[in-house]
Symmetry: C2
Subunit: 177 residues, 2 copies
DNA sequence: ATCAGCATGTAAGGCGTTACATGATTCA
DNA sequence: TGAATCATGTAACGCCTTACATGCTGAT
């Protein structure tokens, strides 16, 4: 069984741009990546340790004024592993939407409950859409960096699907009433 | 920590419509539910056992010609648990798309790799869209059942978001070339 | 002084997947 | 006769979340 831990690839990907600490990595994941992938400290630190031990990463311990800080750098081997992953044809794409599960079984209760659940979903999506749109806007106005296109495309995926969600919400509420 | 195992709710939801065996439940999940929720035998059977022990389900063992078969029925207590879940305001909706992760880090390799990864994704979505559309069509032509509306709305969510995915694929490929 | 943020990590527990193990029936 | 489908379950393993544990720094 080959290792399935995708957080390794997230870390490798981030480190292919810049050297970072575990804390920094967490912040990056909590940004634009967050809507299609998650990470936690309990996830990141062990992965960092493992990859340093297998030679995909090197670390540099700094103590800036008594406070310890470990910055990681990707190695050539790490870059190779990242590229190999990018070139693998299989990719697991999964959606786990409890809102849809509740709607699917909505017949077990009053229609109003389902309408309300859609409304809660709708509000959340509207909030998230604002954030995604701000990412897109920021990336559109700075197209000089070659990586910006990739970041823009993922954010744009979010914007377009979330807009489709909102259209569906309107339709679904109408059909339930 | 309250139990987070959502498979319980899937089972309760399915049993609120009809009595089923564990094997039947697996088949139902592998149908329309599959695109927003997954289940496995190693998941379902223990949940069934637990819920029977806590009184949310009752079982009836039949041996139709030497072959054992256990049919489960939902209890009033089980129905109450299902309704309480439907009325809970929080719902976890998460997307884990490795394709987007690969695209996000696409700058680490040739553009062609990213285009190819989008094409693989696109083909998969086209396949799944066909299936979802067939579910929708089947449900549209049989609107007499009150639960059909709920099934239709979830399938329709899939159709509309997958169509948005395909539009995005075209745009993304164009922008990369 | 105190609180938010920087910074690293561990431990427990929960959930899910996969593979394994077993055996009957139906249909070609 | 052999393959697919029906049918139930267990065990190992892996991954992730959450909570816990600790301590410094900078701003108010």
């Amino acid at each position: 069984m080959a290792r399935e831990r995708k957080i390794d690839m997230v870390i490798l990907g981030l480190l292919s741009h810049e050297n970072l600490t575990g804390y920094d990595i967490k912040k990056r994941i909590d940004g634009a990546i967050n809507f299609f992938w998650k990470g936690s400290f309990g996830n990141i630190y062990p992965a960092l340790r493992d990859m340093e031990q297998t030679g995909l990463l090197t670390k540099k311990e700094e103590s800036a004024g008594g406070r310890e800080k470990i910055t990681y750098r990707i190695t050539d081997e790490g870059k190779k592993v990242l590229k190999n992953w990018l070139r693998e044809e299989q990719a697991s794409n999964e959606l786990k939407y409890e809102t849809l599960l509740k709607l699917f079984f909505g017949g077990a209760d009053n229609k109003k409950i389902s309408v309300h659940n859609i409304e809660i979903f709708e509000e959340q999506i509207k909030e998230d859409l604002k954030v995604l749109k701000s990412y897109c806007k920021a990336l559109e106005s700075a197209p000089e960096d070659k990586d910006h296109l990739y970041f823009y495309l993922t954010a744009s995926f979010g914007v377009e699907t979330y807009e489709a969600y909102l259209k569906w919400c309107t339709k679904a509420k109408r059909m339930l009433q």
